[in-house]
């Protein structure tokens, strides 16, 4: 989130799309209803009428996967009706920047398209630079290659008619919703957008989220209270795990993974340290070398020296074309290219799409080590229904894992607040936390390498590795400390002293910090700021519920990101009644500003979007693999054959696999005419591996169901409560029909399209509850993130003669 939970209450319009906030992020919804109490309009756009819709002012049924059409229509509405916040757009976005002559967009494809490589040559989308490598601008917007003009042109096609026929939302409803949201494009009104997996899990998920960025910038809703782009994150600690890089493509603190083309730290830094393209740009990523050196220092300790290139050479390096995300991993396993592995905190046989393939892929492992609370579809894959355990070669080790209540540490909430949690109960004997498990295991490996040697032992034997896991010690390491006595600008720092903030990190090995983002959260021994529970705040802070002294958030306790855009160039808040920061008597008050520089109009002022090269926010963003402007494409499996307003049906660059089990239904496949979307459930947590073992929860939600409209049920001769078979080209799943007015047939391109929805929390290890819904879903992914398209695929539904999975 650019904001935090409490800030939602400051919104005048709340748009919840790609999320069922009331059921899955109930705390966020508490603040939604507070906003509503204060007069805000709450809009829910979702394929299913849920408890969120029940409490919203407006709900619209949207066809799964048409979010860009919906959002593009809103952008078009704002631009064509001149509803945008002009002063803001002028001052803080790249609206006036000139895009190079090579950029073009034709009928669904951007320029630079290479059909053989299935990729774009992104250099064709570059900005036009002057002789000093600064971006050229036309503040009068007269030049047709100004970003704002290209934007307007791009979304011209997203008129009400086209959007309605694509999304299934009638034009009249669209107009009402657009009218409400566009009303926030003035100084003293703000709109917030709340989304979750309903947005990310598409073959164009990143671009959906980009639409919200563009829209919020046009309306001046970034950096202000009650605005922002807000990904709702919850108990699985997605926020913390992304910050700390539980993903293959980044290192901690969003530093890119090194490539094989960058053999030295200097090469890496050169490739990843941008140059400012505007004189007023702070260009924060210019600090990358300091963050990298400090991270390597934290990892390799004394072995990380300038001579050893700080141990950069010991890091594994991927080829630029490699993808190690989980769909690719299981594809490799399916092809027999993996021998063994560890599976912790994940139940892939249940939760990875096209799970029939995953289950077969797991059979190809020689050995697997798994950590779980209960037996799961993954731990027990070798004895799954229809498989002879004797024929499965995998040697499985199941390590009992501590429950999250049985361990202590920090968790990062959706608002980036780092919060410490204590151990609530002692874990049973023999049970290990993930931390203990990893530290002990690695110590054993280090010992063996030290004793026996081996190929490339350095990355292992040189690790600065603790004897025992201790969350507090690790938290200190994340924050960082000086590795020797140093004097900086007359100030002395002792070796081992904790570092006050990431501005103090250095690239010479004098500082260690495992994650620069978290630098500043633990600066005094024994007194981590994230343990603070102090509710003190100034009157201005109280007006927006900022609570700066409660816990700590990254970066540097800044609660609302990009807050320098929440003030005019002279430092006066756009909306004084809900100010985030303000320049008063020569200093900033309110939140921690995005940099202490004076306001933009003053000598030494900086542009507010400090993480971009120009310091301006990017309405036009040439960095993504699938285009500088979001364009609506159909899901890979779509019920229509023709893109409603271009010639390119689905994303030209989505990720896919070519194995015999990766079958795709063709567009408007007669055998699979119905759209399936999948979602979480309140009573069961994620894949259900934990909650299905709680008898009272299983009593309340005992079996897999498929929610469908009365119209579809009638068409198919299905009655409420009937057993049905749901089938995609990849798999077949038994479910109980839940016939409901909450699902609705949609009219798309003049045709009726039916949508059904299923939860994914039921698996065969809980007897008679049904089995993985993901046997139906499709193994294709977003080109930027490889996140699978869980939210839309094609199926058929028929009444079952006999049920076995639900027996």
């Amino acid at each position: 989130m650019t904001q935090h939970w409490i800030d939602i209450k400051n919104a005048d319009v709340v748009l919840i799309i790609g999320s069922n906030a009331a059921e899955h992020h109930p705390i966020s919804f508490r603040w939604v209803t507070k906003a509503k109490d204060n007069g805000a309009v709450v809009i829910h756009v979702d394929p299913k009428f849920s408890r969120t819709s029940a409490r919203a002012d407006i709900h619209a049924h949207l066809r799964p996967g048409t979010d860009i059409a919906f959002m593009g229509g809103l952008i078009h509405y704002v631009l064509s009706n001149k509803k945008y916040f002009k002063e803001y757009v002028d001052a803080y976005t790249n609206a006036a920047h000139l895009v190079g002559e090579k950029y073009a967009f034709n009928d669904g494809l951007f320029s630079g398209w290479n059909a053989d490589k299935r990729a774009y040559d992104r250099s064709q989308w570059a900005f036009e630079l002057d002789e000093n490598k600064q971006v050229k601008k036309d503040p009068t917007y007269k030049n047709p290659r100004c970003v704002i003009n290209l934007l307007e042109k791009h979304y011209e096609r997203y008129n009400l008619k086209n959007v309605a026929t694509t999304t299934g939302i009638p034009e009249k409803e669209l107009e009402v919703i657009y009218g409400h949201y566009a009303s926030t494009g003035i100084r003293d009104r703000a709109g917030t957008i709340m989304y979750a997996l309903g947005w990310t899990q598409h073959t164009y998920g990143v671009q959906i989220i980009r639409t919200s960025g563009i829209l919020q910038l046009l309306l001046g809703n970034i950096g202000v209270a009650g605005g922002g782009v807000n990904a709702l994150r919850g108990e699985p600690n997605v926020q913390g795990s992304t910050d700390h890089c539980l993903l293959y493509h980044i290192l901690p603190g969003y530093n890119p993974m090194p490539f094989s083309t960058q053999p030295t730290l200097a090469d890496y830094n050169k490739a990843n340290t941008p140059l400012a393209t505007d004189p007023k740009s702070a260009n924060w990523w210019g600090n990358r070398p300091k963050y990298m050196a400090s991270m390597l220092k934290a990892w390799f300790g004394d072995a990380a020296t300038p001579e050893s290139d700080f141990g950069y050479g010991w890091l594994p390096k991927a080829d630029p074309s490699d993808d190690f995300s989980y769909m690719y991993m299981f594809d490799r396993a399916y092809k027999g290219q993996m021998k063994g592995g560890f599976i912790l905190g994940l139940n892939p046989a249940q939760s990875v799409p096209n799970s029939n393939k995953v289950r077969k892929a797991l059979d190809n492992f020689d050995w697997l080590i798994m950590m779980e609370l209960h037996h799961s579809e993954t731990t027990d894959n070798w004895r799954r229904p229809g498989v002879d355990p004797k024929k499965v070669k995998t040697e499985c080790f199941l390590v009992p894992s501590a429950h999250r209540l049985e361990r202590e540490g920090t968790i990062s909430n959706s608002g980036r607040w780092q919060m410490w949690h204590n151990k609530a109960i002692q874990e049973p004997k023999g049970v290990k936390s993930f931390g203990d498990f990893h530290v002990e295991l690695m110590n054993k490996v280090i010992e063996l390498y030290k004793k026996d040697g081996g190929t490339l032992p350095e990355p292992i034997v040189n690790l600065d590795w603790p004897q025992k896991f201790d969350a507090d010690t690790q938290a200190k390491k994340n924050n960082g400390y000086y590795t020797k006595d140093v004097t900086v600008k007359d100030k002395q720092f002792k070796k081992g002293q904790l570092i006050a903030g990431f501005a103090n990190l250095a690239d010479d090995g004098s500082t260690a910090s495992a994650n620069w983002l978290y630098c500043g959260g633990y600066v005094e021994d024994g007194k981590p700021l994230y343990k603070r529970r102090d509710l003190t705040q100034t009157a201005e802070q109280a007006a927006i519920g900022l609570f700066p002294n409660f816990s700590w958030c990254w970066p540097v306790n800044r609660r609302i990101l990009y807050n320098r855009a929440g003030v005019d160039p002279d430092g006066n808040p756009w909306n004084p009644a809900k100010m985030v920061i303000a320049w008063k008597d020569g200093k900033w008050v309110g939140d921690v500003p995005d940099g202490a520089w004076p306001p933009m109009s003053q000598e030494g002022g900086k542009n507010p979007f400090i993480m971009t090269q120009s310091g301006m926010s990017q309405l036009y963003g040439p960095g993504r693999l699938d285009g500088p402007f979001p364009e609506h494409y159909e899901p890979v499996e779509t019920p229509i054959t023709q893109h409603p307003f271009s010639k390119q049906l689905s994303s030209p660059v989505y990720k896919f696999f070519d194995s015999d089990l990766d079958k795709l239904a063709k567009p408007a496949d007669a055998a699979f005419p119905i759209v399936l979307t999948t979602y979480s459930m309140t009573e069961h947590w994620c894949g259900g591996g934990e909650t299905r073992n709680v008898p009272n929860l299983l009593e309340a939600e005992p079996q897999l169901y498929v929610e469908m409209s009365q119209e579809l049920a009638k068409e198919k001769g299905i009655k409420n409560g009937d057993g049905v078979i749901v089938e995609s080209i990849r798999g077949r799943v038994e479910a109980i029909a839940m016939v409901t007015v909450r699902m609705k047939p949609l009219t798309v391109q003049g045709k009726t399209v039916h949508v059904v929805g299923m939860p994914f929390c039921f698996g065969w290890t809980t007897k008679g509850c049904g089995d993985s819904t993901n046997r139906l879903t499709v193994g294709v992914g977003d080109p930027n993130t490889s996140i699978p398209e869980y939210k839309a695929c094609l199926v058929n539904v028929k009444k079952a003669d006999k049920l076995t999975e639900l027996a």
Partner: protein
């Protein structure tokens, strides 16, 4: 300042109700109930009926000092407080005498000494507020009184006067940042704690978890907020050192204890409590827990007339 957690008013009626149900629910505590009922009812009545305390020249300590943990009465006392004390003594000491017949005469002597000025009211109040036992004993002896009786009775006489004063001074308390284990008004130690109700903020969706911890002053019955994982006595915040226990089946009554200083504080969870007793006497319903805590070797945060079980 946050709204107090327990809003059951302390009136003679609400106090009577508590004693009535105490007799019914915890018949074993009869001795204590009999001994304190009339006194508590009278205290409640006095706190209601007492006239405004004359503040005279009094002014609160500077706000920076208060932020650092200096209570309102730490420096000076309102000019009229000793007079109020005498008013209370006139009414309360005879009642106390009837409940504690063995010391009736000494209580009367105490009242007389106060009324005649042989015992300086202001000095007495200061000694109680400063928890200056020796000073208090000295004052008693100088006036020819039994130090034990004065130590027992003085806080009880002072309580209604302080309660009256505390409600007058409440507007001076502002900000949620007191953060101390002692009372922001009089500096007293807590008698009991509350875990607050769910936030009643009119929101129609989630009412909020509640559970915010409030302490009740053993001297003036003020309520203030203290973060939950903080020992009110030694201000230790280490999670491993702080714990609590309950009697099985009773969700709403607990003992919070601290291993660092070996102190404990009885508490009431208002999220589970049906009909909370008024703050000033809530502790008396938890005496069975005092017993358990003291058996386990913990000392009460504040000594109260009914928790001296040894």
């Amino acid at each position: 300042m946050l709204e107090p957690a327990n809003r059951t008013p302390t009136t003679p009626d609400t106090v009577r109700t508590v004693f009535a149900r105490l007799r019914e629910r915890k018949p074993d505590l009869r001795e204590i109930t009999d001994a304190f009922e009339e006194t508590s009812v009278t205290q409640a009545r006095l706190a209601e009926e007492l006239p405004l305390v004359d503040l005279g020249e009094w002014s609160p300590p500077a706000s920076e000092r208060r932020c650092e943990g200096v209570s309102l009465l730490a420096d000076d006392l309102p000019a009229g407080l000793p007079a109020t004390l005498i008013t209370v003594a006139d009414t309360l000491l005879p009642v106390l005498g009837r409940s504690f017949g063995t010391i009736e005469g000494e209580l009367r002597a105490f009242g007389l000494a106060l009324a005649e000025g042989r015992l300086d009211g202001a000095a007495l109040i200061r000694a109680v507020l400063d928890r200056n036992r020796l000073g208090l004993a000295g004052l008693a002896e100088a006036a020819g009184l039994s130090p034990g009786v004065v130590a027992f009775a003085a806080p009880m006489v002072l309580a209604p006067a302080l309660a009256r004063l505390a409600s007058d001074l409440a507007p001076l308390l502002c900000g949620a940042s007191w953060g101390k284990g002692t009372c922001p008004v009089c500096g007293g130690l807590p008698a009991v704690s509350y875990l607050g109700k769910r936030d009643e903020d009119g929101n129609e969706f989630l009412v909020g978890g509640g559970g915010r911890k409030f302490l009740v002053c053993s001297q003036c019955a003020s309520q203030w907020h203290l973060p939950r994982v903080t020992c009110p006595v030694c201000e230790c915040t280490e999670s491993g050192k702080l714990g609590y226990f309950r009697v099985e089946g009773c969700d709403h009554e607990r003992i919070d204890y601290c291993e660092a200083c070996k102190s404990y504080l009885p508490g009431i969870d208002l999220r589970a409590a049906l009909d909370p007793a008024p703050a000033a006497i809530a502790g008396i319903e938890l005496v069975h827990l005092d017993l358990l805590a003291q058996e386990r070797g913990y000392r009460p945060a504040a000594e109260l007339p009914w928790n001296r079980l040894d």
